[in-house]
Symmetry: C2
Subunit: 545 residues, 2 copies
Amino acid sequence: MKIALAQLNYHIGNFTENSEKIISTINKAKKENADLVVFSELAISGYPPRDFLEFNDFIIQCNEAVNEIAKHCIGIAAIIGLPTFNPKEKGKPLYNSAAFLSDGKLVQLVHKTLLPNYDIFDEYRYFEPNSEFNCINYKGKTIALSICEDLWNVQDNPLYNINPMDELIGQKPDLMINIAASPYNYHQTKIRKEILKRNAKKYNLPLFYINHVGAQTELLFDGGSLVLNSESEIYDELKYFEEDFKVYDLKEIETKSVINKNQEFSEIESIYKALVMGVRNYFQKLGFKKAILGLSGGVDSAVTASIAAEALGSDNVYNVLLPSRFSSEHSVEDSLKLVKNYGMPYDVIEIEKAFSTFEDTLKPYFKGLPFNIAEENLQARTRGVLLMALSNKFGYILLNTSNKSEAAVGYGTLYGDMNGGLSVIGDVYKTQVFELAKFINTNKEMIPVNIITKPPSAELRPDQKDSDSLPDYDILDEVLYQYIEHRKGPKEIIAMGFEETLVNRILKLVNISEYKRYQTPPILRVSTKAFGMGRRMPIVAKYLS
Amino acid sequence: MKIALAQLNYHIGNFTENSEKIISTINKAKKENADLVVFSELAISGYPPRDFLEFNDFIIQCNEAVNEIAKHCIGIAAIIGLPTFNPKEKGKPLYNSAAFLSDGKLVQLVHKTLLPNYDIFDEYRYFEPNSEFNCINYKGKTIALSICEDLWNVQDNPLYNINPMDELIGQKPDLMINIAASPYNYHQTKIRKEILKRNAKKYNLPLFYINHVGAQTELLFDGGSLVLNSESEIYDELKYFEEDFKVYDLKEIETKSVINKNQEFSEIESIYKALVMGVRNYFQKLGFKKAILGLSGGVDSAVTASIAAEALGSDNVYNVLLPSRFSSEHSVEDSLKLVKNYGMPYDVIEIEKAFSTFEDTLKPYFKGLPFNIAEENLQARTRGVLLMALSNKFGYILLNTSNKSEAAVGYGTLYGDMNGGLSVIGDVYKTQVFELAKFINTNKEMIPVNIITKPPSAELRPDQKDSDSLPDYDILDEVLYQYIEHRKGPKEIIAMGFEETLVNRILKLVNISEYKRYQTPPILRVSTKAFGMGRRMPIVAKYLS
C-alpha cells in the first residue's frame, strides 16, 4: 500500500481555500499512485478554531466541506481531520474526528479520545472524548487510526486513564496512523520523536505521523511529519516550518533501510525559523504585505526587523527611527547601518516637538511635580502614536519589539512600546535575543555588532541603563524561566541558589504586571510557557505581590 | 442544628487577609451559637485562582491556611472550599475540595464532581473530577455536601453523565449543603433559583446554598445565598452584591413559614449594582483610590463616570474633558453639567496643540494623502496619551468607557479611547447604556438629559454621527446579541427577519475586529457572553469575514 503524507498550512475558517488545497493534493496523490493520502488534525477547519466551534454554522460548513472533498476520493482514500457533531444525547456537542473517505463518500469516523486541556489547549471545552475503538480496514490492511494526543499516554501519562492504542491493538492492526496538530516549542521536536518511537516500539508497528504546519496567530506548527518503521526507527521525516508532501510504500518502510536525513536545528536556529514563519503567515493570512516598526538602536528592534525582513522581504519592512532628546548618537547611527545592511525603507522622525507640546499642554495639570515615569512613558507613547498613525495611513501592520524578559517584569509602556499587531519576540528572553542576533550574523554582520555589545537602555531619561532598575539579564532570565516555564515557587527558586530578596522582587514584578500583559498583542509562542492564551492569570490578586 | 451562612468577599491569593476574615467569622458564628458555619467554594484562595493553581507553592499555602483555620473550629464546625492535592498517581494533580473542619482539625474532604469547562470556566484544566461519594455525619445529622456545579445536573444536563446527589441520596442525608462561586449575569439569579428549587424538590431535603460575593477582575459574584426548605420554597436569601452573614435553625426552616423578602431587582438595576461593585472591588483589591476618565459629552462616559462616582465617591473620580476642533459646544457644556451634578473634580484640556503638532510632524511622511481614519485615530490617541500621563503622574486608574456594541464592531481606537485599566460598560450594549442612564436619573437628573437624547457621535471629523457608519443601535444590538450571546450563524439570524446584507456586514465587522478586542482592558462581565476570558477567538481566521 502506498501512503501519501500531506503536510499543509491551513487557514482557520477558510473552507473554500482549505478545501481547494486538500482536493488538489488528493489529485496529486492519485497521480503519484498513492492508495491513501493523510491530512492533519482539524485540517478542514484549521487548528485551533477555538470558539468558532460553538457556532453550529461553522460545524455545518466543516461537514459540507468534507462531503465535497469525499467526492474526489475515487480510486484513492483519504484521512482528514474535522469537528463533527456528537449524535448522542449525552456529552459535549462535538467530536474531534478523523474522517476516512473512500469510494466518493465518508466511510468511517474515528474520534479523539485524549483531549488536551492544559497550557494553550482547550479541547475539553468543546469535545466529547471517544469511547468506542475501531480500526479501519482498507485494501486488506487494518489501520489503527488515532488523533494527536491519543498516542501521548504511552509513558503512563498521569492525565489520562485510557490508552487508545491499547484498545485498538486487539484488532491486530498492520500499521498506525496519527493525525496531529502539535504546536512547536523549542523542546517539542525531541519529545515528540521520543513519544512516537515508544509507540512504534511498544506496538511493534510502523507509524505514519502527519502534523500541521504554519502559524495560527500565536501558535506555530512546525510540521516535521514522521514515518517510523516497526523497529521504531525514523524512516523519514518531512520538512520543518514549510509545507511538504511525500508518498511512501508501506512494504519498503519495513524492508528498506531508513532514508531519513535528520534535519538537526540548533535551538536558536529553530526559534529563528519558527518566528520567521510566524510573521510571514500572520501577514499572508490577514492579507497584509507590509510591516512598520520603531527602530530604537537596541537589539530587540534590530532582531525584530531582521526577522521581518526575512519573512516579508526587506522592501516590505518600513523602519521608523524616533529619536528624542535622550537618544544617544549611536542609537541612530547603529539603526541606519542596520537598515542599510538589509536595504529596508526607513524614516527618521524626531519626537521632540510632539513630546514637548505634550509637556506644555500638561504643565498646568502636573502641578510642578518632578519628571518621573509619567514623562518616560510619555515619550514611549508619543512614539506609539506616530507609528500607529503611519500604520493607519498606509495599511501597514505595526510589529511589537518587546522581549519576554521585559514583558515579564513590566518593563515597557502600555500604549507605547507595547503597541503592535503582533509581538515577534515576546516569548524570547533577552539572553536569547542576543543569541538570535548572533545567529542572524552567522555569515555576515547584518546587525551592527555595536547593537549587540552595548549595554541595553530604554533611553527615556539621561544616561539610563536597563541595569539601573533590573538585575543582570542572565540572572533575571534564569529566575524568570524557573517561575514561568517551570512554575517553581519562591522557596524552590531560592533553594536553587538565587538570592532571596532578588527572587522575591522579580516574582513580585511579574505578578503586578499582569494588567499590562493582559493588553499586549498576541505573542508568537516558541517556549513551553508563553504569555497569552496558555498562561491565564487573574489581574486582581495578591500572591507573591 | 444551627447553621451559619458566611457570604464573604475574598481576595485571590491573599491568604493572610482571607484567613483572618474566615477566622473572625468562625468566632462570630460561635458567639451566635451556630453549630456549623459554611463558607463558599475556593474561599481560602479566592475564586478563580486560574493558573496560580499550577504553582505547588500556591496549593501548599492554601493547605497551610486551612490547617490554621481548623484550629479555630473548637465547639463549632466549618465547611470551606480550597484546592487540594490529588494523592492518587492518576488524574489531574488537584481537586476542587470542600473541607469539613471540626474539633480543631480537618476531618473530611469532599471533592467536586462536575467541573464546568465552558464560557469563563476552566476547571477541567486543573481539577480531577471526584468519583467517591460520602456524606458528612455531624451532631446526629447526615449532610450531603456538594460544590456549585454538582447540583447542576438535576435537569439532565447533557454535559454530565453523573449526578452527585443521586450518589449521595442512598446515604439518607438530612440536608443538602452546596458551596458555590457562581458568577453573576443578568439572567443567572433566576436560573440559579430554579435549579436549586428542583434539587430541593427532587430530593425532598432542605438546601443551604452559599455563594461567593464580590468582583474578581472581570467576574462579578452577586452573593444572594439561599436557604430552601424541603418543600422547595425559598426560606430566606442573603443580600446581593454585598457581604452577609446569617444563622439558621434547621428545625425552624422545616417548621416555620418562609421569612424570605424577595429582593427583586429589575435587569437594569442589577446590572448597575453589579458594575458598581465591580469598579469598587477592582480599586479596593488593587489598593487604588482614585479613577481618571475622559468625558466626551456622550452617554458612555457619562454613565461610566456615574458608576465610578457611586463606587468610589465623587471626590475620587477625576474627569478630563478633552475637546478638539471637531467637538460640539454641547459636548463640553453637557459634561460640565454632569461633573457639577456629582461634584466631581475635572479639568478641560484642549487637544488642538498636541494634535496639530502630530499633524505637522507627520506631514512630510503622509505624502499629501487626504484626512482619513489615521487622523481620526490620532485625535483619540492624543487623548489617550494625555489621560495616561495624568494617570501615571497621580497614580489614578484610567477607566475605559467603551460599550459592548462598539467593542463588537471595532468602532473604537486601539491605544486611544480603548485605553484603560478596566472596562466598566464593555459588556453593556449601547441600547442598555441608555437604559442605565435613565435608571441613574430615576430620582434626579444626574446625567443631563441632552446627553441621553442627542444622536451619538465620536466627533472625530466635522458633523460625524455614529449612524454614518453603523446601523441603528436597536437593530445592531439585536443582531449582535443573536451572534454573540446565542452564537447564531448568519442564516439563522437572517431567518429571524433581519436584512441579509446588514447581517453579513455586522458579523464581518465583529470577526475582523478580534485583533482590537485582544488588546482591550478586562471587561466587567454582566451578560452570558462577554468579550474576554469567556469568548476565545483566533485573530487570524477567515470565517464570515
